[in-house]
Amino acid sequence: MSAAHSLVEFFSQMVTAQKGESWEPEGKVSWVDVIRRLTAVGIITAGILILLYVKARLHYTFHWTVLVSFKQAYWMGFLMTMKLSVVTLFCSIIVGGIIGLASVSRRICLRDLATAYVEGIRNIPLLVIVLLMYFGVGTLLHLPRFPAAVVALTAFESTFFAEIIRGGIESIKTGQIWAGRSLGLSSGMTMRHIILPQAVRRVVPALAGQFVNLVKDSSLASVISLVELTLIARQIMTATFAAFESYIAIAAFYFSVCFTLSLLTKILERKIPVE
């Protein structure tokens, strides 16, 4: 009883301590902080792995060495995943930017179009969009795998970018528009030079955060046989029957990329001052 009680106590303290921490006044991200976070995640991962290992051992022998002979393939898959993610990021920011701007436009028809796009695409599973884009549209237009994957992912991710950008623009006080317009600036100039620079600064962390999601979502391109990380893992699994090993390896790949990115996002969040 008392042991259970102290355990609860311990965890609740941990939670409150972490909450307090996140409201710390702004400052530099210290290395101690980074190391602490890394250690925490490391401990959790190690725990899960040990559990898995013990459990699986009953019926399963690990052959980690198999992976070494496929390191070239993993590397290729990793590069493709990164290429897909970065190209999609670029396209999504452009498309998302346009849609985001349309959704704050004074013209009702533009706003409606933007809403229709965002709502339409967001409510369809990404997997379906990818399949539709490659096997449907792609077949008609003779679209190769990579462009088809980029188009599908861009269509999906740009809706999130659009919403982030819209939020950023709407978060700027109306007074800034009045100030710009009352000085004789046109509405376009006010948008370009006054509102957007402030909005972009505000949404950079959120955009970076969405990039993490994008990297993870890119694994769905494997269903149209684009040779990226997830497909590589599947191929290695079929060739070697080393299911755990091949998938745990790519899990580690995804994790290290996404975790690094979210750390960077955190740093960005603290670097950008809140007025």
Partner: protein, 240 residues
């Protein structure tokens, strides 16, 4: 200089200004008072075309404000506006805040605009702050920069929307002093403010608005010594 003729302004179904008329002559200083929500700030935004009217007309310097054919940006560059919460551009230095519009709208050279900016900063008493960002300034300094920014367009009239309401008491004077100097230089000014000391000192006329209507308008002396309407008397009792 400014003619407001029977304007009606609505926000949705809510009527903010009712048949409101006002004439401001060249070099005149008008102080507008009234309870919050009475339509004072809306009036100022209407004068430089930031709000659409349901009916009525506004002329500034002989040009109709609420006319689609009017080059509203050109007209606005002749009217300076100062806001309650400053609305400086936080991503620009003080100097850039002041020079941005003259360079973009009036096509002044950066050097010329900079020269004007530095002299205006000296005029409002903070010449040393030219390369600071707004976040590093006190409220009073921000408002003085905002005034300098408006003046940099060399406007023919200035609109002040409760310029001291967001300031700590000890900073109010530094802003009012700048405005008093402006009034002495014969700038046409419409000031929404509850600084009665300021009003008595520089206003030519006081206008009292209640629920979007012009209740009373009189030369400063007369307004304070001998208000006609009961509503005005009650309001003055409350704030004096």
């Amino acid at each position: 200089m400014i003619q407001v003729e029977k304007i009606n302004k609505y926000y949705g179904d809510f009527q903010v200004l009712r048949d409101f008329s006002l004439v401001v002559g060249i070099g005149e200083v008008i102080v507008v008072i009234g309870a919050s929500g009475s339509g004072k700030s809306t009036l100022l935004r209407c004068i430089n075309g930031l709000e659409r009217l349901r009916s009525g007309e506004i002329f500034v310097d002989g040009v109709k404000v609420n006319d689609p054919k009017t080059d509203i940006n050109r007209l606005r560059s002749k009217i300076g506006m100062v806001f309650q919460d400053f609305n400086l551009f936080p991503h620009m230095t003080v100097l850039k805040n002041i020079t941005f519009a003259p360079v973009k709208v009036k096509a002044l050279s950066q050097a010329e605009a900079g020269r004007i900016a530095h002299s205006l900063l000296a005029k409002v008493g903070i010449p040393e702050k030219w390369d600071a960002y707004p976040a590093a300034l006190s409220g009073g300094q921000k408002q003085r920069v905002a005034i300098a920014r408006a003046l940099a367009m060399q406007p023919k009239a200035m609109l002040f929307d409760e310029p001291t309401s967001a300031l700590d008491p000890e900073m109010i004077k530094e802003v009012l002093d700048v405005m008093i100097n402006l009034a002495r230089e014969e700038m046409t000014m419409v000031v929404v403010s509850h600084e009665m000391g300021f009003a008595r000192k520089v206003a030519d006329r006081i206008v009292f608005i209640d629920e979007g209507r012009l209740v009373e308008e009189a030369p400063t002396e007369v307004f304070f010594e001998n208000p006609k309407h009961d509503r005005t008397k009650r309001f003055l009792d409350q704030i004096l």
